[in-house]
Symmetry: C2
Subunit: 418 residues, 2 copies
């Protein structure tokens, strides 16, 4: 089917899915999970073809992301089953007011309609996104990377089999067949059909969506996250937070990329920083962090000089840019200039300084004495996550089921006129 | 100053305004209102120049919109004073969770930052928008129509005088000097400076913003609103609602443009409709409604035949398109195809039919037995309105102070790592 035919079919399915109650949606999710497991063999066969075809263009890390196993499929099925337990936002009355004229106004959560997700080569995003969309009452249109096309197609077939078994329309879950760049652009500009577009992937994909989308699009994921170590910091705590934020998983968006150090404590803290992130890690057989130092930091410890662009780079690797600042106001100014508005942290024992930092830093998540790595739907108690918004409109930070909905005003009267 | 200089100045002012407490903002609003009145003479002199210059290109209605009087300026000042009484959304904790690891997470309302408003020739929008932006902690950048430039400039000067008197930066309120189309485009694409763009005006202005904006933009105001008269309607109530929705103020976006009539009652209702909207209004010296009838309605009453485009037109005038439908499902299907997702109403005594309508119609406001004219911030109890959103992202329907804010997560820990 052409992209436009698939989108028409998706749009046509929105009203039926929006009106499905929670029990029916949960039954569908259970059937989808079971069907994934039942179809393990077919999915693995399709995946083997994808892996075989990708072998020449992809490195081992990328192949590993693409590869499925029976265990990974079981994990995907369990992921769907977890969504059953999440509370359903649809139909929730956010605000209710009875006006003096007797009008009863209920601000009520409703699904967006058609949610499109563009992603890359992890096939598990297919089932993950489909489950969250279904639970929030949204028809999904999935557009995965072409390297994973056969795998995603087999997964969608299994999910649709689950829907059919529950007597539901398989058009609640849709996958685009055109995986060319032109196909992606067609999706991004389908203003009559797509109510929300969420890109999940690297900076290039996100930039392409934000720049080309004519449909409502959420800017997700790019994180140049800062840790500011204040003059009043517990320096040992600062080291723990910094090592965690930088090294526990450097490839993710909530990992720290920049450490700003208050000039007042730089002489003491920078040698500690180097000892922990570079020397101790070497000794313990861990990957050491490569430091990129500004001019002032270089006078105190050894490390490569930072170029200007190092303070504007999402390294996603064992690299940390380090700079000195003149206290919290200067730190806030640096962050305002270089941050992607994802997550920033201050380490300090001074509550006044902390309050200034949380008020003045304009990012989705602002931390006091904790690692930026916690910016995550699960860690925030949302139970799931479809992405992390770095924009201010609609949703900010981790997006769960609620952020996949909008609201409408339902107004009941008995003949009121104005 | 150039547009970019003004925008830089606005951006630089955001942190100071975001951190202002409610008392300080209310004091500023009071000073702004007083200053407007003190400067009445200067504003009227500037306005006289605008009116004089516009006399040749504008008709009387447009001139009237542009013209200010001492009384209108007093009304603007009182409008600002009313904003003082509205509750301040900034700093409100929407959600608070303490995680098992001890992290305290507070989802907290914060200003957007820089809010830009593009509007047309009503000078009162200047003070109205400036007051709502200030109360919600946002720096505003105003871009009014060039016909009203001198008036708006004089109003902004007065408002800034009020800010200065309170010891605040006048850069909290900004007005663009470049009123060319290129200037508007510069504003719409200033992604590093504008956090939210709200167009206020006719369909052409809104379309230009939605199509050209690279900054986050709210689609406002276009309303092709429907009234569906069901087989179970109280027909007298339907007439009252229809006449009110069509004629009480035809030029506004929440006025009805289309009446859909259930075929089962068309023989009875259509003659009543014509008698009320056409004949009785003529007799009473009121402007009669011009009916545009679909083929089936023409067989029952007299009226001009509707062209296809009549069901997709925001007439903003004493014109009503009338069509027959086969019950509520057909009405919902018609609305899905032709609505601008603003406001739609059903008139029925059947609660089941009403529930189906409110669930299935995908618009910002869905009414049962009441006029669509109530879609308005004041009527909904928001106390004010910066515009009516017809999109689903961020805000839907009337936008008040709360819809001018976003949120951030403030996370407090004692050294938590992940």
């Amino acid at each position: 089917m052409t992209t436009i035919e698939i989108l028409q079919q998706a749009k046509a399915a929105t009203a039926a899915l929006a009106m499905l109650n929670t029990e029916a949606k949960n039954a569908a999710l259970l059937a989808m999970a079971d069907s994934l497991e039942t179809n393990t063999e077919a999915i693995l066969a399709a995946n083997a073809q994808d892996v075989e075809a990708a072998r020449e263009q992809m490195n081992d890390v990328m192949i590993d992301r693409l590869r499925l196993t029976a265990e990974r499929i079981k994990g995907m099925a369990n992921g769907i089953r977890e969504v059953i337990g999440l509370s359903d936002p649809v139909g929730r009355v956010i605000d209710r007011v009875e006006r003096p004229n007797g009008l009863l106004i209920e601000k009520t959560r409703v699904p967006m309609g058609v949610v499109a997700i563009i992603y890359e080569s992890r096939p598990n995003v297919t089932s993950d996104a489909a489950a969250l969309a279904l639970k929030s009452g949204n028809v999904c249109v999935l557009r995965g990377g072409k390297e994973a096309y056969r795998s995603s197609h087999a997964i969608v077939s299994a999910l649709r089999e689950g829907l059919r078994r529950e007597g539901l329309s398989e058009t609640f879950i849709n996958m685009l067949e055109d995986v060319t760049r032109a196909g992606a652009n067609e999706l991004m500009t389908a203003v009559d059909y797509v109510d929300l577009l969420i890109p999940r992937g690297g900076a290039g994909l996100i930039r392409a969506c934000v720049e080309n989308a004519k449909v409502p699009c959420i800017q997700t994921g790019t994180g140049i996250c800062h840790i500011y170590v204040d003059r009043d910091a517990d320096l040992d705590m600062a080291l723990d937070i910094l090592e965690n934020a930088k090294t526990s998983r450097p490839s993710v968006c909530n990992a720290a990329e920049v450490c700003l150090v208050d000039r007042k404590i730089a002489d003491r803290f920078l040698p500690m920083l180097k000892a922990r992130l570079v020397d101790a890690r070497k000794q313990n057989g861990k990957e050491p962090v490569k430091l990129r130092l500004d001019g002032d930091a270089q006078k105190i410890i050894e490390g490569a000089p930072a170029s200007d662009s190092d303070f504007d780079t999402e390294f996603l690797n064992y690299i940390l840019a380090v700079g000195l600042v003149d206290g919290v106001e200067d730190a806030v100014a640096h962050i305002a200039k270089h941050s992607t508005h994802h997550s920033e942290a201050i380490v300090t024992r001074n509550t006044e300084t902390a309050s200034y930092f949380t008020a003045a830093v304009d990012s989705a998540a602002v931390y006091v004495n904790a690692s930026t790595r916690f910016t995550d739907g699960g860690e925030f108690g949302l139970g799931c996550e479809i992405g992390i918004s770095t924009q201010k409109l609609h949703a900010r930070g981790p997006m769960g089921l609620c952020e996949l909905t909008t609201y409408k005003y339902i107004v009941r009267g008995n003949g009121q006129i104005r």
